[in-house]
């Protein structure tokens, strides 16, 4: 079971890093934020799996705080930092 947990964690981390491409690429600010959201969810999944694998229940609390704060950051983006996009290059 341990090996499966670690394999899954590694797989999810790879996923997360692949998603980084979207943050770098954009093209719109919203795309970047969206990718960051997926980062958050993936990190939550990784934390939950690692919590099970290592038997450290505190990591579930970390995951919980992650999930909550990711939402707050996203709201900060939507309410404040989202600039007016240039609609010319919004698709790729």
């Amino acid at each position: 079971m341990q090996a499966i947990y670690f394999l899954l964690a590694l797989f999810l981390l790879l996923n997360l890093i692949a998603g980084m491409w979207r943050v770098l690429r954009g093209p719109t600010a919203a795309d970047r934020m969206l990718a960051a959201q997926l980062f958050g969810t993936t990190a939550v999944a990784i934390l939950l799996i690692v919590a099970q694998a290592t038997g450290d229940p505190a990591l579930r609390d970390v995951a919980l705080v992650f999930a909550l704060l990711a939402a707050v950051t996203a709201v900060a983006f939507v309410r404040r930092a989202w600039p007016d996009e240039d609609p010319r290059h919004d698709t790729d």
């Binding site: 670690f6 990591l59 909550l68 709201v75």
Partner: protein, 321 residues
Amino acid sequence: METLTLLALSFDALLNLSLLYLAWILLNCEDLLKAIVLFVAFGLLMALAWVRLDAPDVALAEAAIGAGLTGALLLTALAKLRVIETNKGTTQQLKQDSENFQTLHYMTPLALLLVAIGLGYVVFSMPPISAGLSNDVATNMGNSGVSHSVTAVLLNFRGYDTLLEMFVLLVSLLGVWSFGSTTSQHETTPGPVLDTLTRRLVPVLILVAAYLLWVGAHAPGGAFQAGSVLAAAGVLLLLMGWRPGGYLSTLPFRLILVAGPGLFAITAALLYLLKGQLLAFPVEYAGIIIFALETTATLSIAVILAALFLSEPPHSDKEHI
């Protein structure tokens, strides 16, 4: 067992290299918004690194402060900066600091590389096994009043650091207030979705903060983590357009701001008078004293962090100038 080590090792390697790569990109990319989003992602990966290094307390703090609140602070600051730039008609590109001399400019990467190699060598020259203070911590845990070691260090063994640190928070808020108000953005009214999200999320944040405060005595958690999660509730309300208005200058509000540092300092003074020693908690009451200190600290930290996010000085200060 072999596979496990291999998997863990590849996990670590992947995490480490992406941390370094992210840091490089976020510090050198053209677009500041992109840089901030990458910084949030960076904080996220840092938290995973703390988990891998068996530091769940730090991971909690990083998740709440490093990735969460700092991200919100940066995003808001960038938005305000854009407003200022639009008003003043200035634009900015990624550009080198002209103050640093040209010669320095070519030499810095080289010099820094040497510094990095030197530091790397020093890190490797450290003895492979060093108990640090873990034995001292273990021996004295019984007298600390709590059963979680990080809390024991933060609130008891090195409580004096924490006392001063509370004042660091307070001073930064006073500094932010003394600089005066910054440009505030035009707020649109939040739509129904945002409204519902806030209504659901704020109570959850408060509950989680209370849980983290309580759990801190025997498991990862504690005042700083709880305070930041509670602050996030405040930040969410502020993002929805709620403003404290006149509250900021009222005495009760100010009392909450200083309750954490104040109670800590008063406790230190009282214990000196009673026991002749700064912050020497009597063993039988240590648990309850620490809980009282942590509770007030949580409230103060939360309010200070939320006020730092708002960064508007209270009205009464403005009138006198």
